[in-house]
Symmetry: C2
Amino acid sequence: MNHCHDSLFMRALRREPTERTPIWMMRQAGRYLPEYRATRARAGSFLDLAGNPELACEVTLQPIDRFGFDAAILFSDILILPHAMGLGLGFAPGEGPYFDRPLKSPSDIAALPMPDPIDDTGYVMEAVRLIRAGLPEATPLIGFAGSPWTVATYMIEGRSSKDFAQAKKMLLAEPDAGHQLMNHLADATAAYLAAQVEAGADALMIFDSWGGVLSPRLYREYSLASQQRIVDRLKKTCPDTPLILFGKGCGQHLELLADSGCQGLGVDWTMDLSEARARVGHRVALQGNLDPAVMLTSPEIVAAEARRVLASFGDGPGHIFNLGHGITPQVDPENVAVLVETVRAASSADNQA
Amino acid sequence: MNHCHDSLFMRALRREPTERTPIWMMRQAGRYLPEYRATRARAGSFLDLAGNPELACEVTLQPIDRFGFDAAILFSDILILPHAMGLGLGFAPGEGPYFDRPLKSPSDIAALPMPDPIDDTGYVMEAVRLIRAGLPEATPLIGFAGSPWTVATYMIEGRSSKDFAQAKKMLLAEPDAGHQLMNHLADATAAYLAAQVEAGADALMIFDSWGGVLSPRLYREYSLASQQRIVDRLKKTCPDTPLILFGKGCGQHLELLADSGCQGLGVDWTMDLSEARARVGHRVALQGNLDPAVMLTSPEIVAAEARRVLASFGDGPGHIFNLGHGITPQVDPENVAVLVETVRAASSADNQA
């Protein structure tokens, strides 16, 4: 039996009753924390930090030490994997990520190497090992990757995009190349995630940040199908490791995601958890979904809105409290402390009532 | 009886049978057209163009002349109205709109003047008059405005935003000021739209570009409620003028929008029209919803995807073909010609079958 098998987070993912609702936050190791900013300043660039196992471990543990979150998540980036395929990742200050060598044609896709999780992303696996060793035994560690479609948008556009015109154009005009790219990324991602489990990750999460910009047909054919391919692989390689799928702006596809065989669904803040639950029933656990903008207000408002999220999920097992998206740099850590306290107190009172 | 009462567009809005599906495109008077770029170059800035009734009329008519669209839409901007409230609108090249004097506090909101549609935006009404006089009699002219919430995001943030943190913070932390701002904008917008009808607009449209970034509670309380206030006003001042509500990323709220009393709903490309129709029945007409990215591909793909949209709506009246969002500058006008031809040919074949 795994060291954190009986943790609140793992039990909630199995939809087992818990004394209270577990809580963690997407991007909890981030710039809103002064100790993160200090480590980052020592490291240099974002890539220097994500590429250094000791420092990645240090920042992963910071929010656990400070707030006692019920899960840790590997400090890394969804673009580490295409970086390992040789596209040359960089981060322009204030502008986000870019690739030096974006995919320009079907032949670029055909030439993409299949990275070896150990040889090419060994520093990630080393970070996982260090974090797992440094975490309290009962605190689960979440490993993660980006969804093939989301990662592909950056690989094709070369950077963040507003309309994803080039990436969508490829799916529409070069469907064979599009499927080839999705399959390649799905296979690489499945191996990358399995290696994270091998190194010590207790649960996994796939971030589909841009699935919501696709038409329903393209969503099903590319984003969903490639995530399904990963789920199916992981069922064979890591059958005991629960998986959470998070599709930002993908509320309309919630039933399809719940049918994938994953254990949990991340829900962004644009759908009430009551509706999400009504739509997917008890097939999966739900993770979310406070609007990150709430964290910029006062302790009183943070507490009131957190209670609203708990009430929206309602009674019964299977809720992991989180924001509906990553926490932003401007948040006062004091508001995070209030959030954690509120969720703990309110959900344990509920569960004893 | 109005000159264009029996046009395809007006009949489709009333869910009456039509020989074929009417078509127009959001942002059809735009940078993808060389004749638009020529007029724009003569005008100077975007605001010089939107502020000059003769030139605004000229660009509004260009896509009608070239493609014979089934409706024209006033060339203007959703920020003209807050500009008339003294916020000082500008457009930074490549960066989008900004306000010199954004709203910083509840007292800024309390001090907002109520613009007079004629005294303060008379140039818009003059443009409407000129366009109406220049259009073929049977071609309807659509007047428009932004939704109060969408306009408010720019007024508070001072520019386009990625996370709308300041605007959301105001709704959460200063709900009284938030409601005051929504009511003020709704009243100003209702008067502004009624004046467009008085000047010659045959139908109206409200663009809620950013309703989809709100939680369901804030959406209902601010974006939807303020749009409802406009709908209720217009039912009294312009009872015979049909109104289309377009909420980008608001698919989850479609039933609520259909219950507002509007005649048509714009649907973005992230929901199939078959689903939209199943959800709202025949209460309203549906306008949409080809992904604008399709327009960047080949004539063959444009034609195939257009047929897919027509098939998704299916048989029966009440469909106005459009893109799911505005056409982008990089589109080849030849693809627009193919789109128009395809929709005309395919939908008239369908309706004779």
